[in-house]
Each structure stands twice: as C-alpha cells, then as structure tokens.
Symmetry: C2
Subunit: 126 residues, 2 copies
C-alpha cells in the first residue's frame, strides 16, 4: 500500500469523527478540506483500510455500511429514535464466540452484534 494524502485524510476524518459515519458521510466531511476528492476514492480506501484492519466495517445497522475508527473488539447499539450508534465494549457482553464455537464445532473468526432499542437520551424524552 503506497502512501496517499487522500487515505491519510480519510483515516484522520474517521478518527476525528467517532460517529460511525458511512462512506458518503466521510466524503461530505472531507469535501471542505479537499474539494476534489472523489466518492470512489473514499470507498476504495475505506475498504482497503478495513481489509488491513486499520478501521472496522459495521454492517447490519441500517441499509448502508458504516465505519468505525475503534478497532478493538466491540459491538454496537443503534437507537431506533435518534439513529445514533453507540459502542458496546466487548467486556459488557458474555463471551459469545468461544461458547458457540465449542457447542457447534464451527470455526468462528468474526462476530458482529447489533443491538437496537431506545438510548438513554431518547428514553428521557418520552
């Protein structure tokens, strides 16, 4: 992987905006700083970065794919009202991968968990 200014800025934007943005949201954020950047470049780089483990790809949230600068093992919660995405640290979740692997004899290498409901802020507003 060769250096590119675009990739550096994409990574930086993701780190500075820990809101689990989509490719398009990152693109919009970047256009101020680098107006010539193209959406395809954002997609290509995010996919590369998630391949190489530098960012995390989150699916299953809504239609589109989101990205996360936090690459430690963790899970996600999305609020049905405000649509904000929250991190759920892996420590808060009972061990899933090894338990299921033991019981099913599958080789499990990835585990994606998405919880949905009402976040604390939105609970108050009722």
């Amino acid at each position: 992987m060769k250096y590119s200014k675009q990739r550096e800025l994409i990574l930086k934007t993701l780190q500075d905006n820990p809101i689990h943005p989509t490719a398009d949201e990152i693109y919009q954020l970047l256009r101020c700083e680098l107006p010539t950047i193209s959406l395809g470049t954002v997609y290509r780089n995010l996919n590369q970065l998630s391949e190489s483990g530098e960012v995390m790809k989150i699916t299953g949230l809504d239609g589109s794919v989101h990205f996360d600068h936090n690459t430690y093992q963790h899970y996600h919660f999305i609020c049905n009202k405000c649509n904000k995405v929250y991190d759920i640290p892996a420590e808060l979740v009972p061990n899933i991968m090894t338990t299921v692997a033991e019981q099913t004899r599958m080789h499990i290498s990835e585990c994606e968990l998405v919880l949905k409901g009402l976040c604390r802020d939105c609970q108050k507003l009722n």
Copy 2:
C-alpha cells in the same frame, strides 16, 4: 392484510426452502410456479410479513437482506467458504440482551448476531 395468492406462495416458498433466501432468490424459485409474479411483489410481501412477525429479516450477512421462515429467537452463522447460512439457536448463546441492558441502561428490543467462519463441512475439505 387481505389474502393474496402471491403472498401465500411467497410464505410457502420460504418455508419449503429453509436456506435463508434473499428476495430475489425467492422470486427465482417462484417463477416456475407463477411466472407472472413480479419482484416488487416479492419485496413488498416479504417486508409486510416481517413487519407482522410471520418471517424474520436477516441483515448483516452480506450486502443483501435474507429472510428466514424460523421466527423463534435465534442467530446466524455464515460460512466464509460456502456462504451457507446456519441457524444458531438462542439457547447456545449466553444471554446478551438483558446483560447489556442492565449494564448500559439502554432499552434493548432487538438483537442481531452474525457469526462468520468455517462451517464443519468446509473444515473437512482442507
């Protein structure tokens, strides 16, 4: 919801083919039996049926949405090699929803878990 032959056949096709098909796969399966059915009808009905809880919608597997005739609470495993989708009964998975709800004070109403890896059949082929 009014009765329709199309909806009945869509539900039956899903029940007879517990392979977690996509809308398009159901459409292809149905075309033999009812060649005039339209893909839009399949989508509309699957969405209705999943709204009413008669089928389960699975996201986070790959790009597209899959459907499951099994509406009991359960999770999924997708094999990275053969791409087959397996059911993981909820009983095999440590209780996630209440544990996380207690610790985070979020109201959790849905929980989607997707495990990925190598299924037992594909492990043998190595």
